[in-house]
Symmetry: C2
Subunit: 456 residues, 2 copies
């Protein structure tokens, strides 16, 4: 009759699978609550997709993605030896975009287009864990997809939602960097460069290796010195308003795709400047590693922590999914919540005011009067005040220390008055006052643990 | 530059991995919100554990559990052939208790005992899917664990939390059936039966095969006819108050463990009758399949849907975990949310009042005036009113139909008045009134989608 988990086993954390203590989880929950409520304020309903997809679909992403995928198998099937090939095999999703694309096609007849949704879920990648990279992590996505055509104004809407979230969170300043893939594409073509993708891939290394090495690589790849310099000049343009247009024009390159890109990016930046001043910049070096973006692309830096990479990224894709007849273009953006919390919690930049949801600990005078303490707790909860009853009728000093250790701000003493009435003590100030469970007002700032910015 | 997910692929649902449409997900979110907020009202902070545990730990549960476990493996490792043995192998958790036990031992030095937590997460089992059974499903657990000893009053607290949740949800009546393992154990021993576990296992089949077959099996297993009848008499006792004690006494069996069990169950039922009248019954046939429970056990029936099995179960275990020095006894209870929603959504017993979080659709008169519509939406959101801007400056009739299809109750028309002021229409009543985004009051019942009981 022993729980077999009770066998003492060596317990060690798994690298890349972060877990939080309750007080850290309160921070995570607060972030998720703010993210979800803001998504909903903007009309994005939630969906969740199953954790698994057919491996074939996950591999559709191509490249070296298959190195990062976890397959799953029933242990009971292990007896039969290794699974023979990937047919019918399932794997854990490594992002929320591939499952969303499948969900849209699967449910197209039951969704209303343009369809907007948010999705906050864990994803898994079998990569080597490192700073800001995990094997299990939480992504928070919004996307809008339409059937056939997607209006460009959605590209301006996405970063506004994120800017609103960042403004509500206790974090350093976030800067959303926006570009449009058509700008480098048109610019490169205007320069006479045919290998747009190859050139983009090299320019994308700017942050890592610097302009000199990028120029050398471009020349190595067949670009002229002048072309390489023009590519670097373009990538160096970063403006908070639409003056980037004139600065690109000043480089003297002409191309109709470039014109389209400049107009589209100007529209996004104008909308941003009007609705969320200071939250966005046009940054013409942003390319995004993934090659399926076709228009606007987003990355986001936390000011002062640029080396951590992007905390919020996305872009427009012309073909999120297709069922063979209809194609679904979309635009989306995603917060890398685990990376953000890894930084903020790891560096002690954010914390919760207490470990427990309880605002009140109801003391117990003796075990015989526990029902009275339970009745107090029931009355407080009926009025929305989170509370718990002391675990034992210990000395009051010990009961107060129980509350202190959890950060519970108030301790309730049933029958503390000579008249038999109750009292409640704010254990931070030591002030103890008469109170009745049916009428006592808990200070609003004490009702829930609060999540606050802390000094580094 | 094509998103490879765009390759048309046949898309079919995976059996046992349910997914919801947005309007169903609103129901699920409402249930989770009520569950979480009630857990927090009772002072249970949240934790989440990683999705994976070492397979060795998962197998610790013994029995045929390994048939149900999904192992995970990096696809990139497949090239090396089948994994050689289970050492270091990871699997998806199949419940939240085994991971919680590991979490307690791993973090014991950083937790305050008695430690209470709630945990709402997905779990995975590779079983054959059937009515109410899934391969991926969501569990909502609360547990209290202590180091060394756990006070018995926690056994009375658990079902009260659940009763409060059930009372807040739009569902048929839930009855929490409570028993104490010591009652059958002491009773069987008092009858002279040594094989307590074997007898319990047979009696546990009562709901499935009925009393006659149970009696036959008991006799087959070596019990006398009189013993078998006494076991059935005990299992037939079900009372809403503590009269079960007298009814057990009337069976004339004496045993000190039986006395302990009766006193403990009476305490739980008394507390329940005081705090949540009608929510609990003492039901002496409840045993719980898992054999690690040592005291109180809980199961829960939805009245009218008894054949679906238990929607909320748990109990007390004397050894949740141990690190070799300290043992951690605990008590816990868990809602099987996916089973509950599978029933309620499958039978159409519950639904959301709309598909979209938006309370307002802001119409767009022409694309040139879209910024004005965006400004209206920004002003409404700043006052907590969820809204979205129409996707295209189509005819107003078409924009209203866009809102109708999503159940968005209000459509806002910027500049609809001759004076240039705005108007808003309740598209259910057709009433259209003057309004300003900075002051219009959205009816409270329209702010969020509501989740309501529906007729069958």
């Amino acid at each position: 009759m022993t729980h077999p988990a009770a066998r003492p086993t060596k317990v060690t954390p798994l690298s890349g699978f972060p877990e939080y203590l309750p007080e850290q989880r309160i921070v995570e929950q607060h972030f998720i609550d703010v993210i979800r409520s803001t998504f909903e304020l903007h009309g994005f309903p939630s969906i969740e997709t199953r954790a698994v997809e057919p491996v074939e679909r996950l591999l559709g992403k191509g490249g070296d993605a298959d190195k990062e995928i976890y397959g799953i198998h029933r242990l009971a099937d292990d007896e039969g030896g290794a699974a023979g090939g990937r047919e019918g095999q399932l794997g854990l999703h490594f992002d929320l975009t591939v499952p969303f694309a499948r969900y849209v096609v699967e449910n197209a007849g039951r969704l209303n287009f343009p369809f907007r949704r948010h999705q906050i879920q864990k994803v898994w990648r079998g990569e080597r864990p490192q700073e800001g990279r995990y094997r299990e992590f939480t992504q928070c996505d919004i996307d809008v997809v339409d059937a056939g055509e997607l209006a460009p104004h959605f590209e301006a809407e996405m970063p506004l939602v994120m800017a609103e979230i960042f403004a509500k969170l206790p974090i350093p300043q976030m800067i959303i960097q926006v570009n449009n893939r058509k700008i480098p594409e048109g610019f490169y073509r205007g320069l006479g460069i045919d290998d747009v993708a190859g050139t983009l891939r090299i320019v994308d290394k700017l942050d890592k290796i610097g302009p000199d090495k990028v120029a050398a690589l471009l020349v190595e790849a067949g670009r002229t010195t002048e072309q390489a310099q023009a590519c670097l000049d373009l990538a160096a343009i970063r403006t908070e308003d639409t003056t980037f247009v004139d600065r690109v024009r000043a480089l003297g390159v002409e191309n109709p795709v470039l014109d389209e890109g400049l107009a589209a990016l100007a529209a996004v930046i104008e909308t941003g400047a009007a609705a969320a001043p200071g939250a966005m910049v046009a940054d013409l070096r942003i390319a995004r590693g993934l090659d399926y973006y076709t228009g606007t692309v987003y990355e986001t830096q936390l000011v002062g922590y640029e080396s951590w990479g992007s905390f919020c990224s996305g872009g427009r894709y012309d073909e999120l999914a297709t069922d063979g007849k209809t194609t679904y273009p979309g635009v989306g953006i995603s917060i890398g919540l685990s990376r953000l919390l890894g930084l903020l919690l790891g560096k002690g930049l954010v914390g919760a005011t207490r470990k427990s949801p309880s605002a009140v600990l109801v003391a117990v005078t003796d075990e015989g009067s526990r029902p009275r303490s339970v009745a107090v707790a029931t009355a407080l909860r009926a009025r929305g005040i989170p509370c718990e009853v002391a675990p034992a009728a210990a000395k009051f000093g010990k009961q107060i220390r129980f509350a202190e250790r959890r950060g519970i701000p108030h301790v309730w003493f049933p029958g503390a008055r000579d008249s038999g009435g109750d009292q409640v003590k704010d254990i931070r100030s030591g002030e103890q006052v008469d109170a009745a469970a049916e009428s006592w007002t808990c200070p609003v700032e004490d009702l829930q643990p609060r999540v606050v910015a802390l000094g580094e």
